[in-house]
């Protein structure tokens, strides 16, 4: 293996050793959800009216949107990816605190002297933190989720068979699992590009903070917003920062996107026909300006990494 790649792999692996939350949080969430689903399944099994199942089987058989195997695969994938993305949104918090700590914790406990005694450059170190949060952590979480899909599919099949549901196998479809994983990774990849300036800012705050990186990350933004409000009575700064996300996130999806999740209303199952991705956000100048800002912030974080270490020893 090429040395650069080998070093980068080792650095990312080191991050995953230290921050086990990247796979443990989704694992615990999935386990809790599994317990909840088992309870629901049990209640369903005990309380279900046979007539209700018969009616439901009939409704699904008539529903044109669920006619083919692929339609049904999409429904199952959508259910899986919705749950996966719900757990994924919690991972945003894990990622937030990870980044805040990433270039600060080793200065605080002085282990930076050990890491820096290795032939690793500051560029490699900082980029490995970015690669961890943007690539390794989502892959780890999706790996955990994929195994959860199998468990949930089996659970659904068990209770479906027990109550006489015709489509009991729907969650055991491996194609649905793969599709869900692809959908989740697609949303994560797009989101990472959109939030890139935010990731860069957190790395910068972490590299800079003499202590309390959380305050260094949040107070300057609040401070600029308050100063602007007092000086000009405008909110241009905040609306630019948050407008970035508001403007770009919806453009990740096409017109046929109907939101995540199963929506049951009045006994009908209404499901989006699948994840309708759109590359439209990639054509927005805003996205590229954001990525350029992110690159600048990361570059400053790399410089600070060196300066701050000087003070730490």
């Amino acid at each position: 293996m090429n040395t650069q790649l080998k070093t980068m792999t080792a650095l990312v692996r080191r991050e995953m050793w230290e921050h086990r939350g990247f796979w443990m949080v989704p694992a615990v969430m999935s386990a809790l959800l599994t317990l909840l689903l088992m309870r629901v399944a049990f209640e369903l099994f005990v309380n279900v009216e046979p007539d209700e199942i018969v009616r439901m089987n009939a409704r699904i058989a008539e529903d044109a949107r669920l006619a083919t195997f692929m339609d049904q695969t999409h429904v199952a994938a959508m259910a899986f990816s919705s749950i996966g993305l719900a757990i994924g949104s919690i991972m945003m918090f894990v990622a937030f605190f990870y980044l805040l700590d990433s270039l600060y914790a080793d200065r605080r406990d002085r282990s930076i002297l050990f890491w820096r005694s290795m032939p690793v450059t500051d560029v490699q170190t900082v980029l490995s933190k970015l690669a961890t949060v943007a690539i390794a952590a989502p892959l780890a979480a999706v790996g955990v989720l994929a195994s959860a899909f199998v468990v949930w599919g089996a659970l659904g099949a068990g209770v479906g068979l027990a109550v006489g549901f015709d489509h009991w196998w729907i969650g055991l479809n491996p194609l649905a699992w793969v599709l869900a994983v692809v959908q989740i990774l697609g949303v994560v990849a797009g989101s990472m590009l959109i939030v890139a300036p935010f990731l860069g800012w957190l790395l910068l705050a972490s590299a800079w903070a003499p202590r309390a990186p959380f305050l260094w990350a949040t107070l300057p933004i609040a401070g600029v917003a308050i100063l602007e409000e007092m000086a000009f009575e405008t909110e241009y700064f905040l609306s630019t920062v948050f407008g970035h996300f508001e403007a770009l996130f919806p453009k990740m999806f096409g017109e046929h996107f109907e939101g995540f999740g199963l929506r049951g209303s009045h006994g009908t199952i209404r499901v989006a026909s699948g994840m309708d991705f759109s590359g439209a956000f990639l054509l927005e100048p805003r996205l590229w300006i954001g990525l350029a800002i992110a690159a600048g912030l990361v570059a400053i974080a790399i410089r600070l990494r060196r300066l701050r270490d000087d003070a730490a020893y």
């Binding site: 040395t3 080998k6 070093t7 792999t9 080792a10 650095l11 692996r13 080191r14 050793w17 230290e18 080793d106 406990d109 002085r110 282990s111 930076i112 002297l113 050990f114 820096r116 005694s117 290795m118 032939p119 690793v120 450059t121 270490d309 000087d310 020893y313």
Partner: protein, 285 residues
């Protein structure tokens, strides 16, 4: 012998205080250099400059590279143990071994395992679960398994009990040093390292006050134990330092012929610690 480190006019200021004040020195391959000085003398700053961990003025070449510009190249051939317990607490022993093996091209896995096998360190333990002495043993095992040209030790045995301290230097000498490697070590426990040193460097207030091989030290400096009656005679030869020992007077001289000194009384080679005190304080009554 090749020159490993060459410093010329090395200067580092923190505000208006000079941590290093135009220091010049050389370290040759194969030397074991003891860098000795009181707290705040500039030892750590000098080591940081060598390791590329700080900026500085003046010229410094480490293995032919300027550590400010080519830290990465320097770190291929330089290892250092900065202090005890800088290994992160969450890291497992086996993870530490694997990590160093992955990022360091000169790391020998089998060697590290062999060193660890001599200790009671368990592979699955986290650093936080090890005693201070064990953490140092682990760090030393990792560093000794790297085929580096220069090893920098900054107070490596700080806070360890005497058994670990002795074992640390014994292991270093018997299992690591082979005459071609170079070691720079700073410590306050001078007496523990003086027998392993080939060279001695004293630093005070950012300046080098002594830079000599141990043979030079032995021939240039001598201690004379004499009676109080002959004290004035001894003082006429301008000793570096004098002190009272069990009712007798002990004088430390620099560059006075041994034959002349033998007339005054019993002749000794001063210990590094005594020489250090003499050099730092000068004559004290």
């Amino acid at each position: 012998m090749s020159t490993l480190i060459k410093a010329t006019g090395l200067t580092k200021r923190y505000g208006d205080k000079a941590a290093l004040d135009g220091v010049s020195f050389e370290v040759q391959a194969g030397q074991i250099v003891g860098l000795i000085g009181p707290n705040g003398a500039g030892k750590t700053t000098a080591l940081k400059a060598i390791l590329g961990l700080t900026g500085f003025d003046g010229e410094l070449s480490v293995l032919g590279n300027d550590p400010r510009l080519a830290r990465h190249a320097v770190m291929q051939d330089v290892c250092f143990i900065a202090d005890v317990a800088v290994l992160p607490r969450w890291l497992k022993v086996e993870q530490a071994v694997r990590f160093v093996g992955d990022v360091h091209p000169r790391f020998d896995h089998a060697k590290a395992e062999a060193f660890l096998a001599k200790t009671e360190i368990r592979r699955g333990s986290k650093v936080g679960e090890l005693s201070k002495g064990m953490v140092t043993q682990l760090h030393l095992a990792l560093v000794m398994a790297i085929d580096a040209k220069l090893l920098v030790l900054d107070e490596p045995t700080l806070g360890l009990d005497i058994l670990y301290r002795k074992a640390f230097y014994e292991t270093l000498l018997s299992d690591y040093f082979d005459g071609s490697r170079t070691i720079i070590v700073t410590t306050h426990q001078v007496e523990e390292i003086e027998r392993i040193l080939t060279h001695l460097m004293f630093i005070n207030h950012g300046r080098i006050v002594l830079d000599a091989s141990m043979e030079d030290v032995a021939s240039r400096y001598a201690e004379v134990l004499t009676t109080p009656a002959r004290a004035d005679e001894a003082r006429a030869l301008k000793p570096l330092h004098e002190r009272d020992v069990f009712g007798k007077k002990l004088f430390l001289f620099e560059g006075i012929g041994r034959d002349r000194l033998r007339e005054l009384g019993e002749l000794h080679t001063p210990s590094v610690a005594d020489l250090f005190v003499a050099k730092m304080k000068g004559v004290t009554a």
